[in-house]
């Protein structure tokens, strides 16, 4: 997670600042049901600013792809209205929306060459041949496949990564203001996927297009997005820039879904100035930021593994609890220690592998502690 922060060099406050302008996409009380019995999307309100890279993140069946398909026009909203650049689009057919889209399996037309695939959106718009060729070349250059050797090939003659680039180029070649991406990197291997993440990000920055990106891969969402909308059960659980999402999850689902998370169960005894006193299941008492649980309620405490200190100084942490070391996993740059804390045997502590770092043994009893602001008292979860 640390190197992620280094890659991201964008202004976190960008999205809210532009929200006063007319949004590129606006969901207004949108609901979607396929069977008339259950809602796949429940009362969605979402405003996406011009030039923003917004990721819809969530497990499968959370409604994120449905939302994307409603913007593209392939699914109709059961209720509510979607606005594209201020214009209601519920009754606009897909081919008149002018939205670029990258599909999960690329959807490159197998009977056309690469050049024909790219020229397709231009030829349906009635552009002249010379202009088509110019734009196709520019789009191919943009995805670094413009050296001429690809024009005449068929999609099946390209590797997965190359097909991905072509699909991207095809969605951009007619210069749409909005591009939708439906898990575009899902079929690639890990290394290629990470590489393509940066490339998509760079293209987004240089073109200034608005991107709505759907994925179930949280690291992908954190790397690329201006803001991430975490979907679950048809509802946006949290809409925030990646840093906020990771460091300040607002409920137990987001805390669990984004990054690695340690969970401790307990009951809130009292809340003072936003600091809750929580009695853990084993009777120990700790302090935590009260987020969305009230006094007397059961709560889930969320602590990121890298924010936990083992045998800490009193100056660093507010208090400590006892823990038993269960397992030590050596990972080169850091060491993961699995412990039992307050009855939870899956409590992970990440420590940097620095010079003189202490190695623990299995069964050893230690004290672990953390700062109160790193421990968030959330709803009890499922």
């Amino acid at each position: 997670m640390n190197d992620l922060a280094a890659v991201k060099s964008r202004d976190v406050s960008l999205a809210p600042a532009e929200a006063t302008e007319r949004p590129m996409v606006l969901f207004e009380e949108v609901q979607k049901s396929y069977d008339g019995e259950t809602l796949v999307v429940k009362n969605l309100n979402l405003s996406i600013a011009r030039g923003e890279f917004l990721t819809m993140l969530g497990p499968s069946g959370s409604g994120k792809t449905t939302c994307l398909m409603m913007v593209a026009g392939f699914e109709a909203a059961t209720n509510g209205e979607i606005y594209l650049d201020g214009r209601p689009i519920n009754s606009v057919p897909p081919h008149q929306r002018g939205i670029g889209m990258v599909f999960q399996n690329y959807a490159l037309f197998p009977h056309m060459t690469i050049a024909e695939n790219l020229a397709f959106p231009l030829s349906v718009r009635g552009l002249g041949r010379a202009e088509q060729e110019k734009k196709v070349q520019r789009a191919l250059d943009m995805v670094q496949m413009g050296d001429g050797s690809f024009h005449g090939r068929r999609p099946t003659q390209l590797s997965g990564g190359q097909q991905q680039r072509i699909a991207l180029a095809r969605a951009l070649v007619f210069e749409p203001e909005l591009v939708l991406m439906d898990e575009p990197l899902g079929a690639l291997d890990k290394q290629l996927r990470e590489h393509m993440q940066y490339e998509i990000k760079h293209i987004h920055e240089s073109l200034g297009v608005t991107v709505i990106y759907v994925t179930h891969d949280q690291s992908e969402a954190l790397t690329m997005s201006d803001r991430v909308a975490v979907f679950n059960d048809g509802v946006i659980q949290q809409l925030a820039p990646p840093e906020v999402l990771y460091e300040k999850p607002e409920n137990s689902f987001v805390a669990q879904f984004i990054g690695e998370n340690n969970t401790l169960h307990g009951r809130i005894r009292s809340i003072n100035d936003g600091i809750a006193r929580v009695e853990l299941t084993d009777g120990e008492s700790v302090h935590a930021l009260a987020i969305n649980a009230g006094p007397g309620e059961r709560t889930q405490l969320s602590i990121r593994p890298e924010r936990v200190e083992i045998d800490p100084d009193e100056s660093v942490t507010d208090h400590t609890v006892t823990a038993r070391v269960e397992e030590v996993i050596y990972l080169g740059d850091h060491i993961r220690t699995r412990m039992t804390v307050a009855g939870n045997a899956d409590f992970i502590v990440k420590t940097r592998n620095r010079l003189g770092a202490r190695r623990f043994k299995r069964g050893e009893m230690v004290r672990v502690g953390w700062a109160t602001e790193d421990c968030r008292a959330l709803d009890r979860g499922e």
Binding site: A72, G73, F74, P93, P94, H95, Q96, R97, G98, I99, G100, M101, F103, Q104, N105, A107, L108, F109, P110, H111, F120, P121, V124, R125, R170, A171, F174, L180
Partner: protein, 421 residues
């Protein structure tokens, strides 16, 4: 480095020194023999009951041995006849000798019957002369001419000379409504006998019509089935395949019940007042009956290849085309349709080739105007007027036509692009 290059240039050898290719071939020999053994029974079966009979049929359609066999000396003597005048004594002498042998072996009747097919009435002349010929002696020419003036007919001798050839195109001429005229030239038959040519054309255009209707009906059905969830798609496919599970005769009879003049459709139309009872529609025992019943029977052969191809086309292609700005029709025409061509082509060639040789349905519901060429082939194979050689010639023409269609298809679409499922 140098040694490695040298090694790569020299032919590779296995560990025991034999060339690698040889070693590979040897190691795969058992595998190859087993593969051959697996297909051998079918190969023998096909050879015996399919390939050999077809060759025999083609041979039979041109093979003309009777005159040579039953009148061997006459055939030999006639081969040097110039055809200008009544043949010389040598020919009559040969004829007399052949007749004596023929009467002895009781083959003279067959020879007479064969000639009678070409020259009506020739049988009685032959038989009458043959009864007396053993009492005659040389010179025979005058005695023949005295006994019957038909022996002086140049036409008779011309035909006899022509039919003594071992290979004859006669049956192919007949099959396309041509024949040898009295002068021995190839000429159209009298119009009343002309049936085959028009029947070939009718068979072809009706097969094209049936194929076309099948395309129009099957394409939307297949698209519908291919885009449904599996459970519904399977149910729909069963409905499409239902005709396969009922006997051809049952299906055809059902159409008779529906379409005949006292049938369900006519009764309904009369009842509804659309037509009056004198104006009942003739929908069966004519071309309409053949087209309707055969379209129904052959439809699954169009649906299945289309469906199996459409099933493999992801819906995202159409969506992608639309998202790129293509009108739904343009998206369908530029993206979806080209991808279904292999299935469409497979369905078309399957239905057309099945239709062009169809027999039972046209026979049952075709009446006079709706029968196909195969019905006349069958007619020529049975009954007292059977002309097996004509049937063979007709069937060979049909076979060549089908091969021609297949060849044309291969040139235009490419057989390797076919997808049957």
């Amino acid at each position: 480095m140098a040694t490695r290059e040298q090694r790569s240039k020299a032919p590779l050898v296995a560990a025991d020194g034999t060339p690698l290719k040889e070693a590979l071939r040897r190691s795969q020999a058992v595998e190859r023999r087993r593969a051959f053994a697996l297909v051998a029974p079918l190969l023998v079966f096909i050879l015996l009951v399919f390939a050999i009979p077809i060759v025999a049929m083609i041979w039979r359609s041109v093979y003309n041995p009777e005159i040579r066999e039953y009148l061997p000396q006459t055939a030999a003597a006639l081969s040097s006849w110039d055809g200008e005048d009544v043949p010389p004594e040598a020919v009559f002498q040969a004829m007399a000798a052949d007749m004596i042998v023929g009467v002895e072996n009781r083959t003279i009747g067959r020879a007479a019957a064969r000639i009678n097919r070409e020259i009506p009435g020739a049988r009685s002349t032959m038989m009458r002369t043959a009864r007396n010929v053993d009492a005659w002696s040389a010179p025979y020419r005058e005695k023949f001419l005295e006994a019957d003036e038909d022996w002086a007919s140049l036409e008779f001798w011309h035909i006899l000379q022509r039919e003594s050839r071992l290979i004859t195109p006669t049956y192919y001429l007949l099959a396309v409504d041509y024949e040898y005229n009295a002068q021995g030239e190839i000429a159209p038959r009298p119009e009343v006998y002309q049936v085959y040519q028009s029947l070939f054309f009718r068979t072809a255009w009706m097969s094209i019509l049936i194929t076309g209707i099948c395309v129009l009906l099957a394409y939307p059905i297949s698209y519908m089935v291919a885009t449904q969830p599996v459970r519904i798609a399977n149910l729909l496919l069963i409905l499409v395949l239902l005709p396969f599970w009922t006997s051809l005769l049952v299906r055809t009879s059902a159409w008779i019940v529906l379409l005949q003049q006292q049938g369900v459709i006519n009764e309904l139309l009369v009842w509804a007042g659309v037509i009056d009872t004198d104006g009942r529609l003739r929908m069966i025992y004519n071309r309409i009956g053949t087209v309707v019943a055969m379209t129904h029977i052959l439809l699954p052969f169009m649906v299945l290849p289309l469906y199996s191809v459409m099933k493999t086309i992801p819906p995202s292609y159409l969506r992608a085309a639309k998202s790129l700005g293509a009108h739904p029709f343009r998206a369908w025409w530029s993206v979806y349709f080209p991808l279904t061509v292999p299935g469409l082509a497979a369905g078309c060639i399957l239905v057309f080739i099945l239709a062009i040789g169809y027999y039972i349905t046209p026979a049952l519901v075709g009446g006079d105007s709706g029968i196909f060429i195969s019905n006349l082939i069958a007619d020529n194979m049975q009954g007292s007027s059977a002309q097996l050689k004509l049937a063979a010639a007709l069937a060979t023409i049909l076979l060549v036509a089908v091969l021609l269609v297949y060849w044309l298809f291969n040139r235009l679409v490419g057989v390797d692009k076919l997808k049957f499922g």
